[in-house]
Each structure stands twice: as C-alpha cells, then as structure tokens.
Amino acid sequence: MTYKDILDSLPYSEPFLFVDEILSVSEEAIKGTYTFQPDAFFYRGHFKGNPVTPGVILTECMAQIGLVCFGIYLLREETISKKTTFALSSNEMEFYIPVYPGEKITVVSEKIYFRFQKLKCKVRLMNEKKELIALGTLSGMILNANNLK
C-alpha cells in the first residue's frame, strides 16, 4: 500500500480534510503533515479578529492522520469498503502552544493497541520548530455499516 493509496482511501474532503502528506508508516507508528490554510473557515470565528487554530481542529487533524490514515494502513490486508466508517471513541489531549494560520504541523502517532477494530494510539503534534504543540491519547473504532454503534 502506497502513501497515495492511504490518502485516496480517506473519507474526508474540503473543508474538513486535515492531511496533506504521509511521511512514514509501519505496523507501530505513522507520521504525517498538514498545513493550515490561512483562509480556512474556522479562522473567521475563532477568534474574532485573532485567528488561532481551534483545539478541536488540532485534535481532528491528529485523529485523521494518527487513527484514520494509520487504521487504513493497518487494515490493508482486509478490504476497506465504502461502507467502512471511522468513529472517534475517546480522546484525552493536552495542548501546550497555539497554532496560527499558515503553520505546517507534523503528527506522530504510536500504536498502543489495535484489537477487535479498536485502534488506540499515543499521538503528538509538533510545529516546524519541532516544538510540542499537543500530546494525548486517541481511540477510534473502524466500523462496518451494519454495526454502527
């Protein structure tokens, strides 16, 4: 499975796609990047006259790279069908420094376990200066359409 195959399998599109590039992936970890576009919709309201990337968007970016891209890779032996759905099941996140419009970030996600369709990872987010922006644990389920809960 190539990096492009992973990106092509993603179920997101603009304005809610937060993955540009996969840098590396293995059975144990994935690394990817995203650049926050200065004209992104959420900067208009967060905050008034002072655009800062919302924590929920940073978490979403970490989940898209760290759980969904990673999950697609880990499942590669099995078929990812159009009916496959990804659901964030829990997140525990600490944020250290803000991310401003136009910044390029790197997400590194390390597998804690992947069992019975549940992927749990330790995920970190860094800026171009390699400063730690956010660190936490994310879990998600990979579900089939007939088992949506």
Binding site: A87, S89, S90, Y113, R115, F116, Q117, K118, S139, G140, M141, L143, N147, K149
Partner: protein, 82 residues
C-alpha cells in the same frame, strides 16, 4: 472457577464502562451488553481487554462474535480458564 466466581469478578469490570444513565442494578446474567446496558463498541473492546488481563486469557475475533450477553462472557471465560 464456578460461574458465580466468574460473575463476581466480571461485574465490576462491566460497571466501569456503564454509561452514566445506566444503573449498576441493571446488570444481571441475562443482560445484553450493547442493547440493554448501552455499552458502545469501543467500551466493549475495553471490557474484553480487561477480562483478558483479569483472567489471564486471550480472545480471538471468532469469540467476540458470540459475545452478546453477560452470560456469553461468563461461558467464554469458563471455557478459556478450564
């Protein structure tokens, strides 16, 4: 281990993952974990992993497909701890 002994160890594990609006009194041997106790699929996995640690056993994907009720869990544990 008897079914009663298994149940007494299993009940606190399930309790940990009960949604806030489901009372501990609603757990009984016949309870359907997802339909009646309203445990979501992610927490069902947590319960399975906690059972593995508590009873020192390992579940396979096939086992999980049979797991619907508290009693199914007790039977599976009984079978695996023989």
């Amino acid at each position: 281990m008897t079914s009663e002994e298994i149940y007494s160890q299993l009940q606190p594990i399930i309790t940990t993952y009960l949604p806030e609006d489901v009372s501990i009194n609603e757990i009984n041997i016949e309870s359907d974990l997802t339909r009646e106790l309203n445990i979501n699929s992610a927490h069902l996995v947590d319960i399975i992993l906690d059972i593995e640690d508590a009873f020192n056993i390992e579940f396979k994907n096939d086992d999980i497909e049979k797991l619907r009720t508290v009693n199914d869990a007790v039977s599976l544990i009984k079978q695996k701890t023989l």
